[in-house]
């Protein structure tokens, strides 16, 4: 069931107004700088911000409307905070039971099953104070699931973790996405995370929604480049693992060509997501030769968006795939780039970093 919000909140110096429908079974990334209202939006949905006006509806249940405000405990939101917020006076088992005991009769997953899924068996008798950051977040995620949530709200669950710990948690989030029919809201300011696990994206700035849509649409939309920021702009495309070559490269099939990447951990035939930052795509009118870059895709220019700066965002099509390139105005003029022009996209293979790659649905 979908979560529909149409809310507003005013503080001195800050106004938030969000109207959006969050689809079930998908991770919607709430993306934006700090202070853009991402966390506040989650708190309003959870019922923790009493000053918010408007409506929040989950499936057929009204959580908030003029004159109605359901208490947080009556809503059923699985909330995971950046700092895990485990109860320090309880063991890991006690933290999990706290949630499970209050969701009895809601036929949620059992504690044993969740503990097994999140590999918590050896931690159950430990106290939160002795756990690593990654372990804490795993417990927090498991606990949020054990209260039989109707929606999952994840507020930068990875932000406090180093890269190694992030990679420890991401597979659990992906499993969650792939085996859940809940709307999952995932607040993040890391495009790498968003590109890896999100299905949809809501881009927020100063309390407002600037853009929303599927990851594929928004990240390949040249007019969204200024919104996402030049450094974070870049399309996400789906690819299939063809083979692992003996020289350490993995070959991926995209709709009209192949990509070569440093060897990645994926079975042959598996579908993966590849993120190609717009600033790492070079356009060439002719198929370049004598170039060290391995990945050159034939593309057609689909859209050109000129913002305020010196750069131009170019939307590209390569068969079914949509890419994004960012070039200077000068280059765009010199090459006479126009919509419909066929050319070649040179992708610096270093840009397809391993950390940016995740399994697609």
């Amino acid at each position: 069931m979908a979560l529909e919000v149409d809310i507003s909140l005013s503080y001195p110096g800050f106004d938030l107004a969000v109207k959006h429908r969050f689809a079930p079974g998908r991770i919607t990334a709430i993306f934006g700088r700090s202070g853009s209202g991402k966390s506040t939006l989650l708190r309003i949905i959870a019922g923790l911000e009493t000053g918010a006006a408007g409506s929040v509806t989950m499936g057929g249940t009204v959580w908030q409307a003029p004159g109605i405000r359901l208490a947080p405990e009556a809503r059923g939101v699985g909330f995971v905070f950046q700092d895990a917020r485990l109860f320090a006076h309880l063991t890991v088992d006690g933290n999990l039971s706290y949630a499970a005991n209050r969701a009895k009769g809601l036929k949620g997953p059992g504690l044993d099953m969740i503990a097994h899924d999140f590999d918590l068996g050896s931690l159950l008798q430990r106290r939160p104070v002795g756990l690593s950051g990654g372990e804490r977040q795993r417990v927090a995620l498991a606990r949020a699931l054990l209260m039989s949530p109707r929606v999952l709200l994840l507020d930068e669950p990875l932000a406090a973790l180093d890269d190694a710990r992030k990679h420890e948690i991401l597979p659990y989030l992906e499993r969650l996405r792939d085996h859940s029919d809940l709307p999952i809201l995932y607040v993040s300011h890391s495009m790498a995370e968003v590109a890896r696990i999100a299905s949809d994206i809501v881009v927020m700035q100063a309390g407002n929604v600037l853009r929303s849509g599927t990851i594929e649409d928004v990240l390949s939309d040249p007019s969204a480049v200024p919104v996402l920021g030049v450094r974070d702009a870049g399309a996400v495309i789906a690819a299939r693992v063809v083979t692992h070559h003996a020289d350490g490269l993995t070959e991926l099939a995209v709709s009209q060509s192949v990509l070569l990447l440093p060897r990645m951990d994926a079975k042959i035939g598996a579908m993966v997501r590849v993120r190609i930052p717009a600033q790492d795509v070079i356009l060439s009118l002719h198929r370049p030769e004598g170039l060290s870059a391995l990945n050159i895709l034939p593309v057609v220019i689909a859209a050109i968006y000129q913002g305020d700066g010196p750069g131009v965002a170019i939307g590209l099509r390569s068969g079914e795939d949509r890419l994004l390139a960012r070039v200077t105005q000068r280059s765009a003029a010199a090459l006479h780039l126009t919509e419909g022009l066929a050319c070649f996209a040179v992708i610096k293979s270093v840009a397809v970093a391993h950390g940016d790659i995740g399994a697609a649905r």
Partner: protein
């Protein structure tokens, strides 16, 4: 050397124990309310709670004497219901002690509750725990140190009181003659030997109680994180 009459000591311990229990029963919800409320009444209630800290015990004792006397509506009602007076009785002493030591129970508890912040309660709420549930399963166990401090301070402060007890309870052996008053009486009658023994007992007792608390605090530091 023969021991002086020790009944004032037992009466004192009894009074302190009953007062502490009553204070925890009253002080906990009051401290909880103060820690959570955004009401405009909060500073007023905090002020009233803190008054015994600054008022001379004789002022508190004087008003209590008037309030509890059979001539006041409260005192008269008590006489109608129980047949005995509140003034110069053990019950009257408990009421006086509770008011006198109220800040010593409420303030540590309030501070302990406030130190927990909103985070654990917000989280518990998202885990389907209602207000009473949150209080019982999060606030009380997490504020354990606050309860210990409140209990010890209430107990010790009640043992140490003198002025209020003198005003409200007088000096009735076995009923209102607590140890501080017994010592005062021994000194007044120049019976220094007994005053020495009773005072020494108080000194050792107070030292032992405080040492116990500080040792406990060292060995079981607050768990954070």
């Amino acid at each position: 050397m023969s021991l002086p009459d020790l009944s004032p000591l037992w009466l004192t311990l009894q009074l302190a124990a009953v007062t502490t229990l009553v204070l925890l029963a009253i002080g906990t919800p009051l401290a909880w309310w103060l820690s959570q409320t955004a009401s405009r009444l909060k500073p007023v209630v905090e002020t009233i709670t803190a008054l015994p800290l600054v008022l001379p015990p004789t002022v508190l004792g004087f008003y209590l004497l008037i309030l509890l006397s059979p001539k006041s509506p409260v005192g008269a009602l008590w006489v109608d219901v129980t047949g005995s007076t509140l003034t110069f009785s053990f019950t009257g002493l408990v009421i006086a002690s509770v008011l006198y030591s109220l800040p010593f129970a409420v303030q540590p508890l309030q501070a302990a509750f406030e130190a927990l912040g909103r985070a654990p309660f917000e989280l518990a709420a998202t885990l389907r725990a209602g207000p009473l549930d949150r209080f019982a399963t999060i606030a009380v166990p997490m504020a354990g140190r606050g309860f210990l401090t409140a209990a010890v301070l209430s107990f010790a402060h009640t043992i140490g009181e003198f002025g209020v007890v003198l005003m409200v309870g007088g000096n009735i052996p076995g009923q209102t003659k607590v140890i501080s008053i017994a010592i005062y009486e021994q000194v007044e009658t120049i019976n220094y030997a007994d005053a020495h023994v009773l005072s020494a007992i108080m000194l050792v007792f107070a030292f032992a109680v405080l040492l116990f608390v500080y040792t406990l605090n060292r060995r079981f530091p607050v768990r954070v994180g």
